[in-house]
């Protein structure tokens, strides 16, 4: 079978074997604590393929550095970088650069040249330093194992094979679609295998760090979020514990199960860092949630907001964001909910000025003239707000 040519590699076992952990947890033996191999110094690309790949990525990173989508808050960036360094080790961390990018999707990646990109949608969905460590450990595993280079070479090889087979089929009048499809399936399986390896290595890295291994909850919430989205959109529910031929990642349920087993083995030792995570991300909550709240997926945004509130507490800013979510959807019962949420935000203290703005707008929509007082409070708290001229005009326009 041609597909067998692209089966899972033995790279991870070889790596673990090199540091004396070839007898991993699968055989039930009590493995010692994970010890990172000695750091050999900054890695340089080898060969024309890898040098070409790094050159392209260096250029991409230069553009990314100028992008207005990059979040430059120094506190948040320092926090994320510290978690990364604590997870992979300070020696390895020196070669890595972190960029937080405004994007509502749950994603992050680490490129072969050490560029690390974390989406704000990811930060909105995580609840602790431990969870962030698991994600960053996964991305570091791709970098350490040079998965992208291997994947690019595989894809080029598969592409070459596919082109030659297609030409052969034309010359011999033989159908080659099935063979080329099998090449693609093999490539996807290879990529899926890499993701599984990265998860396994991430578990080891977190185990060897000061953080608790806590990734099963992340994948559980991903499943619940997807189910909420499908319910809202009337889409067919899917099973989260099996993969199809087209899945280039393990299923979320498989990842949850793998990490749950690892967490059972490792135990609950290590720092969770929920309070620290909440404190570090609180100042940028509007940025982390802006695209979600003002996007098109109400169920997803509400699920992510509620899960953070239930895990880390409902701050005035978080209540205001949820109030805006309901206000923007704007059904009659949503306006009632929004008014309650804005009221809770204000009562909780330290609510952002947007809480008074949202309360005022909702009250006016519901025909309650008290909304003007709330909007006046908003202007007092934020006289230079972008929409201040519009709000002032509204207040000046009469009763």
């Amino acid at each position: 079978m041609i597909g067998s040519l692209f089966g899972r590699g033995m790279g991870l076992l070889a790596w673990l074997g090199g540091i004396g952990l070839a007898a991993g947890p699968a055989d039930g033996a009590a493995a010692g604590p994970f010890v990172r191999p000695p750091y050999a110094g900054a890695y340089e690309p080898q060969g024309v393929d890898e040098r070409g790949l790094w050159m392209d990525l260096d250029e991409f990173e230069r553009d990314l550095g100028q992008s207005p989508g990059v979040v430059r808050d120094p506190g948040l960036n320092a926090f994320v970088r510290q978690v990364l360094c604590d997870t992979v080790g300070a020696d390895r961390c020196g070669a890595l650069r972190c960029y937080i990018v405004a994007d509502s999707r749950f994603n992050a990646f680490m490129a072969p040249n050490g560029m690390t990109v974390i989406y704000t949608g990811l930060l909105a969905r995580l609840h602790s330093q431990a969870e962030l460590a698991g994600v960053l450990g996964h991305e570091f595993a791709h970098f350490e194992r040079r998965h992208s280079l291997a994947g690019a070479l595989r894809q080029r090889s598969a592409g070459n094979w596919s082109a030659w087979i297609s030409l052969l089929g034309v010359l011999t009048a033989v159908r080659t679609g099935a063979v080329r499809q099998e090449l693609q399936i093999g490539l996807i399986a290879f990529t899926r295998g890499q993701e599984g390896e990265a998860d396994a290595l991430a578990a080891r890295l977190v185990e060897g760090s000061r953080f608790r291994l806590a990734m099963a909850a992340v994948w559980r919430r991903a499943i619940e979020e997807d189910d909420a989205l499908r319910r809202e959109k009337g889409l067919r529910r899917v099973r989260h514990d099996i993969t199809s031929l087209a899945d280039d990642h393990p299923a979320d349920g498989q990842r949850m199960a793998m990490f749950a087993a690892e967490e059972l083995r490792v135990g609950s030792r290590g720092l969770d860092g929920g309070a620290e995570y909440a404190a570090a991300t609180e100042p940028e909550l509007p940025l982390l949630f802006a695209a979600l709240v003002r996007g098109r997926d109400f169920a997803v945004a509400d699920y992510v907001l509620r899960s953070r509130g239930e895990a880390l507490g409902w701050s005035g800013a978080l209540l205001t964001l949820r109030g805006d979510l309901f206000r923007l959807r704007g059904h009659p019962r949503d306006l009632v909910t929004a008014e309650e949420l804005f009221g809770q935000a204000i009562a909780a203290g330290r609510a952002p000025p947007e809480a008074w703005r949202g309360l005022g707008l909702v009250q006016l929509r519901r025909g309650n003239a008290a909304g003007k007082a709330a909007l006046a409070s908003y202007l007092t708290l934020a006289p230079s707000a972008a929409d201040a001229p519009l709000i002032r005009n509204l207040l000046d326009s009469g009763p």
């Binding site: 990314l64 280079l149 690019a152 098109r296 704007g330 929509r365």
Partner: protein, 200 residues
């Protein structure tokens, strides 16, 4: 991380390729010339541009899209949206729409609705309102919004100027967008003149 479409090198390469394909697509669209001084009717608005514009035919459901140098460099859209319709066509239609006009809405609501609709329609990952102020459109009360945005596919910062008004039973919007570097400043004066001189 979760979807290899966004994971590592493969995502970057595919994204760059897709961006190239998208920018190459205008050759497939139909175009007509709107001569300087010709009056064009969109919904209840009559517009008379002071210079000639290239108008894309059949590209918008309810309005017109004009450009001088290509949509990536300057884009003037005039749209008419009724209650229950989205201000901007959803990029991913299976996932629903954003910025749908509710049955009852006030001028102040147009700021949030425009942002939601524009984010959904353009896929902007960064959208910041610089100023929202009262204005006039065809002599009627309107909202003028100045904003900046960027799309997920590129690092180019862009700016926009939109004026929205409720005329009859529909929201009429004239929206000008262009890259922040040179093109927005070069084109906003004419865009503003078209908005100022629009009439019913």
């Amino acid at each position: 991380m979760r979807r290899v479409r966004h994971c590592g090198l493969l995502w970057i390469v595919r994204t760059l390729a897709l961006a190239g394909l998208v920018t190459a697509s205008p050759a497939l669209a139909g175009w007509t010339l709107v001569p300087a001084g010709q009056t064009v009717v969109v919904g209840q608005l009559k517009l008379t541009p002071p210079t000639a514009w290239n108008a894309q035919t059949g590209s918008t459901a309810r309005g017109v899209a004009w450009t001088h140098d290509g949509f990536e460099l300057n884009l003037l859209e005039v749209t008419v949206t009724r209650s229950g319709e989205p201000l901007y066509r959803e990029r991913h239609r299976r996932r629903g729409v954003g910025g749908v006009l509710p049955p009852q809405f006030a001028l102040i609501d147009l700021v949030d609705l425009f942002e939601s609709g524009f984010r959904a329609g353009s896929g902007a990952t960064v959208f910041v309102i610089e100023q929202a102020s009262p204005a006039k459109l065809a002599g009627l009360p309107a909202v003028e919004i100045r904003y900046r945005f960027s799309l997920s596919e590129d690092a180019l910062p862009s700016r926009g100027l939109v004026r929205l008004a409720i005329i009859g039973d529909a929201v009429h919007a004239i929206n000008f967008t262009a890259p922040a570097l040179h093109y927005f400043d070069a084109g906003q004066e004419e865009a503003r003149r078209i908005m100022d001189e629009a009439r019913i």
